[in-house]
């Protein structure tokens, strides 16, 4: 068992919508999906990365007050959350596949200094860069 970061969470506007996006469109797998009243702990995993979970959380009670939750919903929708990077073997192939599934791309695959990257957003507004792993 290695040490390190096990889970990082994203805020999403709707957990069902986010689950559909990350699983059906991006190919992640549901890892944990547990409910307690209105609260839902939902994480997904990349199939090649079993030691890391991506959490998909809705800002709101009981962990956040209504005003803070509203501010976070606004920030997510404005694309103000920190950058996210998805590493892929073949950026152009992943772009074609994801685009066919309806992923909203913000930048077509672009080659810079031998590396190819593209940009997309999840339905909530979280921005991802998709970067092709450097071939060595």
């Amino acid at each position: 068992m290695s040490q390190g970061v096990g889970m990082v969470g994203l805020y999403v506007r709707d957990q069902d919508e986010a689950l559909e996006f990350y699983v059906e469109k991006l190919g992640f797998r549901v890892h944990k999906d547990m409910r307690n009243g209105d609260y839902r702990w939902l994480t997904v995993q990349h199939p090649d990365q079993p030691s890391f979970e991506l959490g998909l959380f809705k800002p709101g009670p009981p962990t956040l007050d209504a005003g803070s939750a509203q501010s976070l919903r606004e920030l997510v929708a404005k694309g103000a959350m920190p950058p996210l990077v998805l590493t892929v073997d073949d950026c152009r192939a992943a772009y074609d596949r994801m685009r066919a599934r309806g992923v909203e791309f913000t930048q077509e695959p672009t080659e810079r200094y031998g590396a190819v990257d593209a940009g997309f957003r999840d339905p909530s507004g979280n921005g991802w860069k998709m970067i092709e792993a450097a071939r060595r």
Binding site: R13, Q70, R73, E74, V76, A77, K78, G79, P83, V85, E104, T106, Q107, E108, T110, R112, Y113, A115, D117, G119, R121, S124, G125, K129, I131
Partner: protein
């Protein structure tokens, strides 16, 4: 002031489209259509959401892109002006100087001579780090700079 997250998500789409094609023309009509709001509401809602009017935002992206091309390529300045959405080299040079404080040629000479301290950051994020922080209109910036020049000249008069 609170804004509807659904509206913000659609305004973000207009911002993303300007990011993806900052060299294109983005009249309010086109941006409003991307966001699915009326032309009358678009500019005000965008400014409220992102703290900057849509066309000033577009200007910052064009300057950022031009700076990157000056830094990373050997393209002629005329070609860079054309590629980043300006139809006149004179307007490009003047606006570039007003926003960044130096001419395109000066910026190129300076960055080519300096080491790249951001080279370990993914390239796609580096250009965002060089985006000009244009908190006032370019015309206002010109007025302020002209004003300060006049003041300093006056104080030098014995």
């Amino acid at each position: 002031m609170s804004q509807d997250p659904e509206l913000l998500r659609r305004l973000l789409r207009a911002k993303d489209r300007m990011d993806a094609a900052s060299h294109e023309e983005w009249p309010v009509r086109r941006l409003a259509r991307v966001s699915g709001v009326s032309e009358a509401h678009f500019a005000r809602s965008f400014k409220e959401a992102f703290g900057i009017p849509p066309h000033r935002y577009l200007l910052t992206r064009r300057i950022e892109r031009a700076s990157a091309l000056l830094r990373d390529t050997d393209l002629a300045i005329t070609e860079i002006a054309f590629q980043t959405g300006w139809s006149s080299l004179g307007t490009f040079g003047r606006t570039f100087r007003d926003v960044t404080g130096e001419s395109p040629g000066e910026l190129r000479a300076r960055v080519k001579a300096a080491p790249h301290e951001l080279e370990h950051v993914p390239v796609c994020f580096v250009s965002a780090a060089h985006r000009p922080d244009l908190t006032i209109a370019v015309s206002e910036k010109r007025r302020q700079e002209a004003g300060s020049r006049i003041e300093s000249e006056e104080t030098e008069v014995p």
